[in-house]
């Protein structure tokens, strides 16, 4: 049992996770009643990752959720009706029906940046939020989530590299839910732990059992503290499982049945309920009253959502530009004088003693040799990683070998290639030979 959490906080973690799940179930019912417009993306099985990480943040901190991080939105103060109306494309939704799903945010109060469907793009954007906050003296941390699939995108790598060079206070949660649509993680990336990506960028990383909310919370808390101390970005890999298809239309028949069984036995909410009971944090009565509260709230939230009309058609062409509807003023937490001349004036010169030359290179390799394979990169130790979960990564990957194509032994004569003219030039002149 962790000392850093109070009983109320333990119960609050349960509340958010359970609310996340019950909302998910409610949405499935609405989907079947044809009330949901478009696709429905389930969070089932990933509640501990979203809730545990977001719960480690303070109010001033920023998040950018992905589609399965409704738990993070709830922790940040959004209510189920916001998610319901988004999926139902209603006028009272945070985007007034202009976008759906978890694609919404709030710059002013909740500090939530809306995702877009293109994966990985939030990494550079949240790096910007992080360094912007640092410039303004806010001492904030920016957190975002990406799936295993998004680690294959260029934006992920460009963003992470830039965050690393900037020592940005960015916590990047790689939510390894084993599947990117129908592509298993083993086909997505040729490495065992996605956390290893951090090594290449010289930043701290850790692996955590994403279905253990207390472990997730503790790992995230440590990462957030590290960021706030100015020690640079942290990558957390949370190993979890997407328990449904990519979206509601997808029966996920490509997922081996044993795999679902394996993860069902590690359901984050059932596990946490057991944890709370075994550690005497709650009793049956507390659980019943929490569950009843969630049921009641969801009922009210649904009623509110259902009352909301569809948007008026003329809204379609409105709001493309800010025509003075917003007043933009950064929240300064430091003296502006510091960043204005003459105080801001510097002598621009290289700060690296050896100008990035050979001495630096040899220092790095010496450090790497001394520290093992980690390249001198500090790793935050996550004590809570369960060996069993990590072992589950070794899913059977039909043991494919790469076949190396060999030449047929004959040395090919070098052929003189005929030049193919790709423009014939002025009339009467054939392409130059």
């Amino acid at each position: 049992m962790s000392e850093s959490l109070t009983r109320d906080q333990y119960l609050e973690l349960y509340y958010y996770m359970k609310l996340n799940r019950m909302l998910d179930e409610q949405l499935v019912r609405l989907f079947r009643q044809n009330v949901v417009v478009g696709g429905l993306y389930s969070n089932l099985g990933q509640e501990a990752t979203s809730v545990g990480t977001a719960y480690a943040l303070e109010k001033r901190d920023w998040i950018a959720p992905m589609i399965r991080n409704v738990g993070g939105l709830l922790v940040k103060g959004y209510r189920p009706r916001d998610i319901l109306t988004q999926y139902m494309a209603r006028y009272d939704s945070p985007t007034m029906g202009k976008d759906g799903t978890s694609h919404f945010g709030d710059l002013k109060d909740r500090h939530v940046v809306s995702p877009i469907s293109m994966l990985g793009d939030l990494v550079p954007v949240m790096t910007g939020v992080a360094i912007g906050g640092r410039y303004l003296g806010q001492n904030i941390v920016a957190m975002t989530w990406v799936g295993d699939g998004a680690t294959s995108t260029g934006a992920f790598h460009e963003g992470l590299n830039f965050a690393a060079t900037q020592h940005a206070p960015l916590v990047l949660v790689v939510e390894n839910n084993q599947w990117a649509y129908s592509t298993p993680v083993a086909k997505q990336v040729p490495i065992h732990d996605l956390a290893d990506r951090a090594k290449a960028y010289g930043i701290a990383s850790s692996v955590v059992d994403g279905n253990d909310v207390v472990a997730v919370y503790q790992t995230a808390k440590e990462a957030v503290a590290r960021c706030r101390d100015g020690k640079g970005p942290v990558l957390i890999e949370a190993k979890t499982m997407r328990m449904k298809g990519h979206a509601q239309h997808d029966p996920a028949e490509y997922v081996p049945k044993e795999m679902f069984k394996y993860w069902e036995a590690r359901d984050p909410i059932a596990r946490y309920e057991k944890y709370l009971t075994e550690n005497d944090i709650w009793d049956a009565k507390t659980k019943a009253s929490l569950d009843a509260r969630i049921d009641k709230e969801l009922k009210e939230e649904l009623e509110a959502a259902e009352k909301s009309p569809l948007p008026p058609p003329e809204l379609a062409e409105q709001g493309v530009y800010c025509d003075g509807c917003h007043t933009i003023e950064p929240e300064w937490k430091r003296s502006k004088k510091e960043v204005m001349p003459p105080q801001s004036s510097v002598k621009p010169e290289w700060e690296v003693a050896d100008f990035g030359g050979f001495d630096l290179a040899s220092t790095i390799s010496k450090k790497a040799a001394a520290k093992g394979d980690n390249g001198g990169v500090p790793a935050i130790q996550s004590k809570s990683v369960r060996a069993e979960t990590v072992a589950s990564q070794e899913l059977k990957t039909n043991g494919r070998k790469l076949s190396v194509q060999k030449s047929n032994g004959r040395a090919e004569k070098s052929k003189v290639l005929e030049r193919v003219p790709f423009g014939r030039g002025p009339k009467g002149k054939a392409g130059r030979k």
Binding site: H103, F104, Y135, L136, E158, F162, E331, W350
Partner: protein, 324 residues
């Protein structure tokens, strides 16, 4: 005050805005110690320090992404793309993240994306682009392409103060070739307003950026033949100043559009449609276009000269139009 180049005018705009407002920051490749590939940002680092002049890795997606993030913090970043051709590398960030942000969830993105554009300097297929139409076709953005030092400075200031994402294209052929005396006081030029550079009665030439100068030269020559061409400089491509275009067309009854961008899908097509929709009854002749050829920008001088529209192309088209 001595006359300054367009490049210096742009530098002054950034410098003065950073002096005026601590929320203005710059981000890009080699903009700090080196002062930028074209030296537009020279001296900024010394004056404003590392926090406000951010050198980045070669990562256009990270540059634009980080600029968006900073703008969400209420800052006003100016992102430099070393050559505008590299804007293709961050196309997704600009068209999907930046442009749709305010519309989708009411998050304004007060940022400027600027970079050297255009041909005529033998930059070849990857250092000569006129990428305006990818972005003119993207609701949510504003697109500016000035032709004079005065406009460049005034429009860039407006762009920095605007609450929307603005793509600010700088024609590199003009960087050091044109000079102008600028007012000493703080002035701005409004976004979305075209200007009549030369009055005329016989035909209207709608143009912008480097081709504005080519068109003006042609107009002077046409005047010797008794053809008085009116030259309209768009300055802003999105939003398009339809009113000024239509006013001029209704006056001269003939329309010639000149741009350095390639022909198919160039803004000339859009302007022709605007004229047909708003001044069809006033047109006394066909709407003609003088544009670059439909090919990538070639490298070798004779090829690039062939590719780019020039004064004699404008003269020929204007003379043809004058016959109607």
């Amino acid at each position: 005050m001595p006359p300054v180049t367009m490049l210096e005018a742009i530098r002054q705009a950034i410098f003065e805005e950073m002096e005026r407002d601590p929320s203005v920051v710059t981000i890009g490749e080699d903009i700090g110690v080196y002062g930028g590939a074209f030296k537009v940002t020279a001296g900024l680092l010394e004056r404003f320090g590392w926090e406000r002049v951010i050198d980045t890795p070669i990562s256009e997606t990270a540059i634009i992404g980080a600029a968006v993030g900073m703008s969400y913090q209420g800052l006003r970043p100016i992102a430099e793309l070393q050559f505008i051709d590299f804007i293709a590398c961050c196309f997704n960030q600009i068209t999907n993240f930046v442009a749709k942000s305010h519309y989708r969830w009411g998050a304004p993105v007060p940022m400027v994306m600027r970079g050297p554009s255009g041909g005529g300097v033998h930059g070849g297929p990857f250092h000569s682009a006129n990428p305006e139409m990818y972005f003119v076709h993207t609701p949510g953005l504003k697109v500016i392409y000035p032709s004079t030092a005065y406009d460049a400075k005034g429009l860039l200031k407006s762009a920095i103060r605007d609450n929307n994402p603005v793509l600010f294209l700088e024609h590199k052929f003009l960087y050091r070739r044109i000079k102008e005396e600028l007012p000493e006081d703080d002035y701005t030029v409004p976004i979305g307003k075209a200007i009549v550079r030369r009055e005329g009665r016989d035909l209207t030439i709608v143009t912008y950026a480097a081709m504005m100068h080519t068109s003006l030269e042609a107009a002077e020559e046409l005047a010797k033949e008794g053809i008085e061409a009116e030259v309209v400089d768009l300055r802003t491509l999105l939003p398009l100043d339809k009113e000024t275009i239509l006013q001029s067309v209704k006056k001269t009854n003939k329309l010639l559009i000149v741009h350095e961008d390639t022909r198919t899908g160039g803004i000339a097509g859009e302007i022709a449609a605007v004229a047909c929709e708003g001044a069809f009854e006033d047109l006394d002749g066909p709407i003609l276009r003088v544009t670059a050829k439909d090919s990538p920008v070639p490298f070798s001088p004779p090829l690039e000269e062939r590719f780019l529209p020039n004064k004699s192309d404008v003269l020929a088209a204007a003379r043809e139009l004058a016959r109607y």
